[in-house]
């Protein structure tokens, strides 16, 4: 007899806030630092109320100095703290690339294993809110290129709630990308939901005909596409990568081996991208399992535009995913 797990209704934003709150409660070394995380409550209101609860020592508003405060997070991690650094959006993280790529990712190796950096950096990514080309890009694939850091992309409430604690236990730098379109996503979560693994991709919907491989803000679109495809008699399996680095190649290949077809859905651009990497891994590891060439649904190769119709046209959409799968099935099924 299993007792019914009590659930609570909350948003993705609240799930992250709970995760941060719990981390602050559980570990005195944890603190949150970033632009407007305190008095303003976070530019996406994620940290709202935490300043009142934990005070300005642990909820630190920083000046507009991405390089300095990200680097300070690295230094503080080296000095025994467990910082959570928030960068408003991935576009602004470019001003801290030096610290992330040249320091956070290198120092463990360059020091011959002497100095590890237990740092978590959170930032918003992605488009869909008509914020135009300097607030909408999906550059997590770039970061996934870098050895020495880990890249997480929570797409569900459970992961939004559970990835942070696991990331904080990790001895090395972990970047968490929160898709801006997900903050208001609402749903039920067990009241006692807690840490989740950050090693494995997850099959979010089983299927037999095609693997839809995706992550983050595109997971919802892939699931909806799978729903529509089911109505057409096509059973799509949806794989949520969850972690972009290290990639769980095993789960990807296992899925493709079951379905023999793969469509990768990624809000990043296709050229020189994460989707290209996944496609290559499928070629390397499951080429003979394929009944059709791997297909990709990515953002159009333009800076993300402002106008709604143009932005929508630039991004992967449910319709495009469905059409891509149908074409694949028609041509090769």
């Amino acid at each position: 007899m299993t007792a019914e797990r009590k659930t609570v209704r909350l948003t993705y934003r609240e799930a992250i806030r709970q995760a941060i709150r719990e981390a602050l409660q559980r570990d005195p070394r944890v603190f949150l630092m970033g632009e407007d995380v305190g008095r303003y409550g976070g530019c996406f209101a994620v940290s709202k109320g935490l300043l009142e609860e934990f005070g300005p020592e642990r909820i630190r508003d920083t000046p507009l100095s991405e390089s300095a405060f990200v680097g300070a997070g690295i230094g503080a991690a080296l000095g025994g703290m467990r910082p959570i650094v928030e960068i408003m959006t991935v576009n602004f993280s470019l001003l801290a690339l030096d610290q992330i790529v040249n320091n956070a990712a290198t120092i463990l190796h360059m020091s011959g294993g002497q100095f590890n950096i237990p740092l978590v950096i959170r930032m918003t990514t992605g488009a869909g809110r008509q914020l135009a080309a300097q607030h909408s890009h999906s550059l997590e694939g770039w970061y996934a290129h870098i050895p020495g850091i880990k890249v997480l992309t929570p797409a569900t409430l459970e992961d939004a709630r559970g990835m942070l604690w696991t990331a904080l236990q990790d001895p090395d730098p972990v970047l968490i990308f929160e898709h801006g379109g997900l903050y208001n996503m609402e749903g039920e979560l067990p009241a006692d939901a807690g840490a989740v693994d950050i090693d494995r991709a997850a099959v979010r919907r089983p299927g037999t005909d095609v693997s839809l491989i995706t992550y983050g803000g595109s997971l919802g679109k892939a699931l909806q596409a799978a729903e529509e495809l089911a109505a057409l008699g096509i059973q799509a399996e949806v794989v949520d990568l969850r972690t972009l680095r290290p990639l769980d190649t095993e789960t990807i290949l296992a899925s493709v081996t079951r379905t023999h077809r793969a469509v990768i859905i990624d809000e990043g651009w296709r050229s020189g991208s994460l989707s290209a990497e996944i496609s290559a891994r499928i070629m390397e590891g499951a080429f003979y399992e394929l009944d059709a060439p791997v297909a990709r649904v990515c953002s159009a190769e333009v800076p993300i535009p402002y106008a709604r119709h143009l932005e929508e046209a630039a991004l992967p959409q449910v319709g495009t995913i469905v059409a891509t799968v149908r074409e694949m099935m028609g041509a090769h099924g």
Binding site: F31, E57, T62, P63, S65, S67, A68, F69, V70, G71, A72, G73, I74, G75, A76, A77, L78, G79, G80, M81, P83, D98, Q99, N102, N103, I107, L108, H109, M110, S111, G112, G113, Q114, F115, N116, P147, G148, K150, T166, Q169, D170, P171, D172
Partner: protein, 333 residues
Amino acid sequence: MTLHPDLQPPPLERHHAVFLLREMLRIRRFEEKCAELYSATKIRGFLHLYIGQEAVAVGAMQALDAQDAIVATYREHGHALARGISAASIMAEMYGKQEGCSRGRGGSMHLFDAATRFYGGNAIVGGGLPLAVGLALADKMQGRPHVTACFFGEGAVAEGEFHECMNLAALWRLPVLFCCENNLYAMGTALQRSESQTDLCLKAASYEIPAWPVDGMDVVACEEATQRAALAVRAGGGPYFLEFRTYRFRAHSMFDPQLYRDKQEIEEWKTRDPITTFQARLRSQGLLTDDDVQRLEEEIAAEIAHAVEFAEAGTWEPVEDLTKFVYSERKPA
């Protein structure tokens, strides 16, 4: 800006004076050996010699406790030696041997040592400053009375990271001792060719940081100024900025025809050689004899000979370990 008003030459005590001389000589002879070994292709990559600037690292290091932290640049052999990292492990690092202080993964520009809290040579101009700010933040948040000494060249002053870090360290009153070694040239770019305001102390002072110039060719002045600064930092006064006015006698790295400065200028600065002038001073005060000098030279020669032997006898990290330390081996709890 004038010299520190309270700067008075303290009475020199023989034992300590000879120690300071010894430390400077160790660096000088060590690096002369490095240059030789570079020509013999035992040492490869970039090799930035500190020759001419020894008084700064040696003087400044005297003000630091064992628990203080150090962040340096790619021109850091002197700092590493003066901090107490063994000449043998530094030499082995330059050889690329696994007995080196960074297991051969860093080389000349990336000496690291956990035991002495030496957080590296950093080869990104300005890149170490945010780390220093974060290390100091960690000390402050954990109530430890330590100082983080951050060494960098005047070239870094033009970088955004410098200004971000001045501001953040001052704003949060962090225990950072900024040690700017103004040797007048950033590679081939003279200070007045790259800065609209060449008074570096004014820049720091504009961030409400106490800032003083120091004669970087005088080891006693360097020691005294750093003692004073470290005392202020340790007392909770926030960051401090020292501009050490110094000169590098050699090329920027190993190959550099030095087209950007006059031979005459170099010769003039060489008359202020921190080692020969200090020796002369000690002799004139009756604190140093010919025997002393001979003994020092012999001891240092023996130390360096041992370092070279150690490096020669060192072993190569097995290629199978290539990807070791990209991530920590310790799994999350």
